[in-house]
Symmetry: C2
Subunit: 375 residues, 2 copies
């Protein structure tokens, strides 16, 4: 993650994965989510924070999820409907269930199909936010499959040359297993920058790079600027400007829309903003295509070669998608997940409101101890 | 296409699609390709030129294909082997057949599987160049399916922060049908810029934008510069720099490598440069997921909404991927395909060498008439 999005070391309060999982599970249960679903949702969020994907972990998302449950926008106990199904594919109405809770189940359906016929494809409409799409892909990778996951919502992102937002930040993720190397894990918004990262940057008052966002009239902001509030900018597709390839980011976001929304019989957010999130999950059974053991050896050899690449001037090493998440998970399992004091304060207030035990703190840095939490 | 890649109007010689198809087919036949394959390859190249994708049409690719056939690197009469197969997936050894010729057949196999079980996935190793990946995706779209196609080769592209090329320009393409609107057709290299476009720019001596390419030591060239020869630069992944999202382009290129190479049991070019191109084809039968007629109406509504987007200052209109190709095809079917005189000269020499009729010219602009062809 770029420096702009990191919580300052002077400000952090650390929490163990176990403690976070316990509190998040209890919050979901208090909101009416059955035990299995609450546990699933807590697992997805905790893994996301352990992997260092703070933009999609509890600090950005948990309070939003709680609001949506309390407003009735999310169904705590959804019963999904399979709309159409074959041995290889299915489309599902998610009954307004939160994506981080029912997404893993949809991916497991894709995995089951892949186990039978080599590939499984599941598209889902009428669901809530998916959280980190990469987590869903990893569920397949852990079963010796290649996993793909996409999601669509919005509209928050400008099409190339446009002044009105039409797409969501529509993420695309994939994961692939290895023998000994960290799994390949790719999970990106199809914008220059994920919206959740911009919110994080706004909270941290960090500077944004040129061409990350546009003015409200659609013109890219070509100089560095402090992250504005979400009503004061438009998001640009990956590439930023046409010259730098924004038509590619735009087309990738539209792809996620087609696979998630169009295949599930949903309505794109640009046509109906009342519609929920839509998702797309694919599992490819490697064994159905080729020898799994040979695949794993070759995957390790390829990833080792990428890591052995001579770095360009000014850089220390070359990595591949998933390496940082793997390293961060090891570090955070030992040292805890760092949160801004404001997030901890929110957990305190929600625990009081719902009548659950407070989130257990693992460690507090001196600066945070000596300062009051941010308002 | 950006202005940098357009043949100057003063310099063009125009050829009809029919004339181009005839000559290309005859060249392939003279090189030993059976009639069906020669016709398929000529169709792919002609459609690519009609759609305005000059970077992957005859001007950049035909002489390379001819060389590869003459050197024995390509097999003019390949018999592919299905390595593994299920009702939904297959992996194939392409027997060194040219991708533009056997790719459409692989996509048709995916379509047949999709017709039976809702989705078909085919990965292929040991093949030649795929040409415009989007053409393969369009074969599925023309059958009321969503088509996806990827390809992997190289190594020509730097990983983020790297100084040694590891990936090919590894394109990702998809196509989706509509009711009345131009089909959605997306086809991009996972680099900032397609290598074939850089070669075109070098031939036209056009200026490149900042961060399109890197020096040989891996550092991005951050100012505008005339397109160098292909041995004097490195390619950067989409995004260009890490700050602008090059890790996303890098991960997308790696995705094409995994789906094309790893699933077909191929060896990535970074580990073995003697290996040929690898490809990946997917067809999704829309009807297996949702109501096809409702899908088509909604797709048209979405695409019309994208086109109706208010443009940002300085821009005339907003489009979606496939609109320019659709408009260009209408224009070129009427006015012919424009070629640089150098390309026409090459056709003359190869026609003489192989003993076929010369390429029929449709029109020549005054400037080209009065000047000798470029050496």
């Amino acid at each position: 993650m770029l420096q702009q999005f990191k919580v300052s070391k002077d400000d952090e309060i650390r929490v163990s994965g176990e403690a976070l999982h316990k509190t998040v599970r209890e919050i979901f249960e208090k909101l009416g989510v059955p035990a299995d679903g609450a546990d699933e949702g807590a697992h997805v969020l905790t893994m996301t924070d352990l992997r260092g994907v703070d933009s999609h972990g509890v600090s950005n998302m948990m309070r939003v999820y709680v609001e949506w449950f309390q407003e009735g926008r999310l169904n705590p106990d959804p019963k999904w409907t399979i709309l159409r199904e074959t041995p290889a594919v299915a489309s599902i109405d998610g009954d307004a269930g939160l994506g981080i809770i029912i997404g893993p189940a949809a991916m497991r359906l894709a995995i089951e199909k892949a186990r039978n016929v080599g590939v499984g494809v599941v598209s889902m409409r009428n669901s809530g936010h998916l959280g980190a799409a990469g987590h869903m892909a990893m569920i397949a990778a852990e079963q010796d499959m290649i996993g793909v996951s996409m999601s669509a919502a919005g509209p928050r992102v400008l099409p190339t040359y446009g002044a009105e937002p039409r797409l969501g930040t529509n993420p695309i993720a994939y994961a692939a297993p290895t023998r000994n190397e960290p799994f390949l894990l790719f999970d990106v918004a199809t914008t220059v920058i994920a919206e959740n990262k911009l919110r994080l940057a706004h909270r941290l008052q960090s500077e944004l790079e040129p061409n990350w966002i546009a003015r409200l009239d659609g013109s890219p902001i070509t100089e560095k600027a402090v992250a504005p509030d979400r009503d004061d900018y438009q998001l640009l597709p990956l590439g930023g400007t046409r010259e730098q390839g924004s038509h590619k980011g735009y087309g990738l976001g539209l792809w996620a829309e087609v696979m998630s929304t169009m295949l599930s019989g949903g309505i794109p957010s640009m046509l109906d903003t009342s519609q929920q999130f839509k998702h797309h999950f694919v599992a490819y059974d490697i064994e159905a295509f080729t020898d799994l053991e040979e695949y794993k050896d070759r995957m390790d050899a390829m990833l080792q070669t990428l890591k052995a690449t001579r770095p360009a001037p000014g850089h220390e090493r070359v990595i591949y998608p998933g390496v940082l998440e793997y390293e961060e998970e090891i570090y955070r399992r030992e040292n805890g997940i760092p949160f801004h004091p404001e997030v901890i304060q929110w957990f305190e207030s929600v625990a009081g409101e719902l009548g659950i035990e407070p989130l257990e703190i693992m460690a507090v840095t001196k600066a945070a101890e000596s300062q009051p939490p941010a308002p």
